[in-house]
């Protein structure tokens, strides 16, 4: 290992920390000025300890901590979080179609039940091969087919790997939706209905909230969460720990319970990227559905009939009926 093990540990803890202290530390690491002297409402007297970028612990007043996502400049959002290269690993051997990732994502992004950033598909490569459950977010490709075709720079690739959409720029031509080979994008066909607390939020590309009629949205890898040192909502929502999220630069991914080295798991478990032969270089890796922790059928037990109905055209469901 070329890197210093100790500094690595610290930065990993920065990233992984879910507690507020470490979380706020990650904000400083993310380059956001917290205690900027301007417009601080009043001193509460309650102090908070924070970890600075160079490893010092400082104490600041509670009110000096500003909500990071509300105060990012357009350029900061478009550049991404410095020093990061986000990556997701989905362990197909653990997924049993609980669909908590979907519902949590919908709740946090103010999506209707029929709008999904994250999908769970029933996949079967051919009729002799085994079926498996397949969570599918946006792949945040390094060669994004969607970004290439955008005529107004509304969708862009950031230095931290994330592909985002600026829905204040989007003209709604839908070329990106047609161009994405992974069907990751959704269009807002009608007036967006949002819970009041989401509707009143200031729009940020990093949260994709509030969405606007006539524009495109998709899974954003929750960079607002990353800025606070938290994991994306789908990762924390999954009771099976299927989804790992992390940083390629730190070579680390975590599902919240377990933290593993990215290169190790990809090597040991024969990780792969779906449809990588299209040349899009996705940032989402899959671990093959071998040595499964649950029988495939269990994925059909806990779901509603409406969800079951979705899979009716698959080979598996057809053969089951016969």
């Amino acid at each position: 290992m070329a890197k210093n093990e100790k500094s690595k540990n610290i930065s990993r803890r920065n990233f992984l920390g879910t507690g507020f202290l470490l979380g706020a530390g990650a904000i400083t690491a993310g380059g956001v000025v917290l205690a900027a002297g301007n417009a601080i409402p009043e001193i509460s007297g309650k102090k908070i300890k924070l970890l600075t970028q160079d490893g010092k612990i400082i104490e600041v007043d509670e009110t000096a901590v500003l909500d990071a996502e509300q105060n990012l400049s357009e350029k900061e959002i478009r550049d991404g979080i410095p020093g990061r290269k986000f990556v997701m690993v989905v362990d197909l051997s653990k997924c049993k179609n609980v669909r908590k990732c979907i519902s949590k994502c919908q709740e946090k992004h103010g999506l209707q039940p029929d709008q999904e950033f994250m999908k769970v598909l029933l996949m079967q490569d051919d009729k002799n091969s085994a079926p498996y459950w397949f969570p599918k977010p946006c792949y945040h490709c390094d060669q994004p087919a969607c970004v290439k075709v955008c005529p107004v720079d509304a969708t862009y690739k950031r230095h931290d790997g994330i592909v985002l959409i600026d829905n204040e720029r989007c003209v709604g031509c839908k070329f990106c939706v047609a161009g994405c080979p992974y069907s990751a994008r959704i269009f807002h066909w009608k007036e967006v209905e949002l819970p009041i607390e989401l509707a009143n939020r200031k729009y940020s590309s990093e949260t994709s909230v509030p969405a606007k009629k006539g524009t495109v949205s998709k899974c954003d890898f929750c960079p607002d969460q990353s800025r606070q040192g938290k994991l994306p909502h789908c990762v924390t929502a999954c009771p099976m720990g299927v989804i790992y999220f992390g940083d390629m630069n730190e070579d680390t991914v975590t599902n919240g319970d377990e933290t593993i080295r990215f290169t190790d798991i990809i090597r040991d478990r024969a990780g792969y990227r779906y449809l990588a032969d299209l040349g899009t270089a996705p940032l989402v890796y899959y671990l093959p559905p071998v040595n499964r922790q649950f029988p495939f059928e269990s994925g059909l037990e806990s779901v509603t009939d409406e969800v079951k109905e979705r899979y009716k055209n698959t080979e598996y469901m057809k053969s089951k009926k016969e």
Binding site: V152, K174, V177, G179, F187, W189, V216, N313
Partner: protein, 440 residues
Amino acid sequence: MEYDSSKLMREFAPQIEKTSKSWYLVFATLLAFFLFGIFGLYTQITKGHVVTGMRDNVVWGVYIVNFIFFMGMSYAGALISGILYLFKSSWRGPVIRMAELITIISLFIGPVFILFCIGRLDRLYYLILFPRIQSPITWDVIAISTDLIGCIIFLYLSFIEDFAKLRDYKELQLPKWRKRLYKYLALGYQETPWQYKIISHTKNIMAAMVIAIAIIVYSVLAWIFGVTLQPGWHSTIFGPYFVIAAVYSGTGMLIVVMWIFRKVYKLEEYITEKHFVNVGVLLLILAAFFGYFTFSDYLTKWYGSIKMDKVLIDKLFTSEYYYMFIASNYLGVLVPIIVVGIKKFRTITNITIAGLITVVSLWFNRYLIVVPTLETPYFPIQDVRSEWLSYSVTWVEMSLILAGISVFCMLFMLASKFVPIISISEMEKHTGETRGLMRD
């Protein structure tokens, strides 16, 4: 046959001067369709695109189909009139004006259809304000606006001589403002040798440029599909294929337009069977080319049978789109070839029917390019909502298609009240050229 300008003016002046009751009736009907389309558009803008049949997989529907279709006819008109003009085809006189009108009218309608497909029309100017040259849509914006300007210049040049004739024709019974308008539009053209030389020169240059622009623009349109990775679209042949399909549909349209105006304005003396056969032969050649390209495109996809190509091909060849595929890619190719190819069938009515079949089947050809691919993404569409699985046209989209067609007809009707539907100066020149040939 020889024509001189005063006889032609006498012949064509009534077409401009008098307007029959049935003209108004037809116009009013078309206007009603147009207003219905406006209502449809209003519904779409207020309620959102949810009122269309488009959904997250099939994000482009008949609007894009119509966009390609009308743009195709437009480039075709440009190409035909350009080629006929540049190569001085001896029979071009009576048909060139109609080809020119097809060009300009569909060029105004085509781009409007892509606007119906845009989610945020209020931000349309962003395309100019924040353009990304990497995007084929930006290529399209540049190409179409260039084409529009080029075609307007070319057509205006070809109208000047007729405007001058209308200005000089004293017996013309029209309100004063109309006569004054012709005077302005004629730009003081007096047919002096110097003026004549300049205008012919410019027209030659513009005809050549319009041909080049037409090829580029239609290729760019094809590359919107070709540059994506989607099954069925990601094809190297799409550029030339679209160009051929465009000229083909435009030629079919020209025949239909010729037939209608011949009937309505009693032009039997000018537009003869010879003209139908000549344009028909052009149609036959294009049908063969179009058929060849279609065959070549589908053969390679079918023979190779990459997984997703196979799924798509199965939909087109054997299941969902079977009949539409036959109508567009079998009938659309074979009917014109048989009708024009076999001498016995080569009548004006038959050729017109073949032309009409060409136009309709080419519309379906575009539909089969756009919609089935979007219904066949790499990932299976696992959804319970049937409108999410397959696309079907709603009344809003239908109303706008009808509005588009009626505007096409209305503009043609208005144009025929504004300029002689047969170019008088071209007819005269034709006479001159024949005389010149005989002297040589």
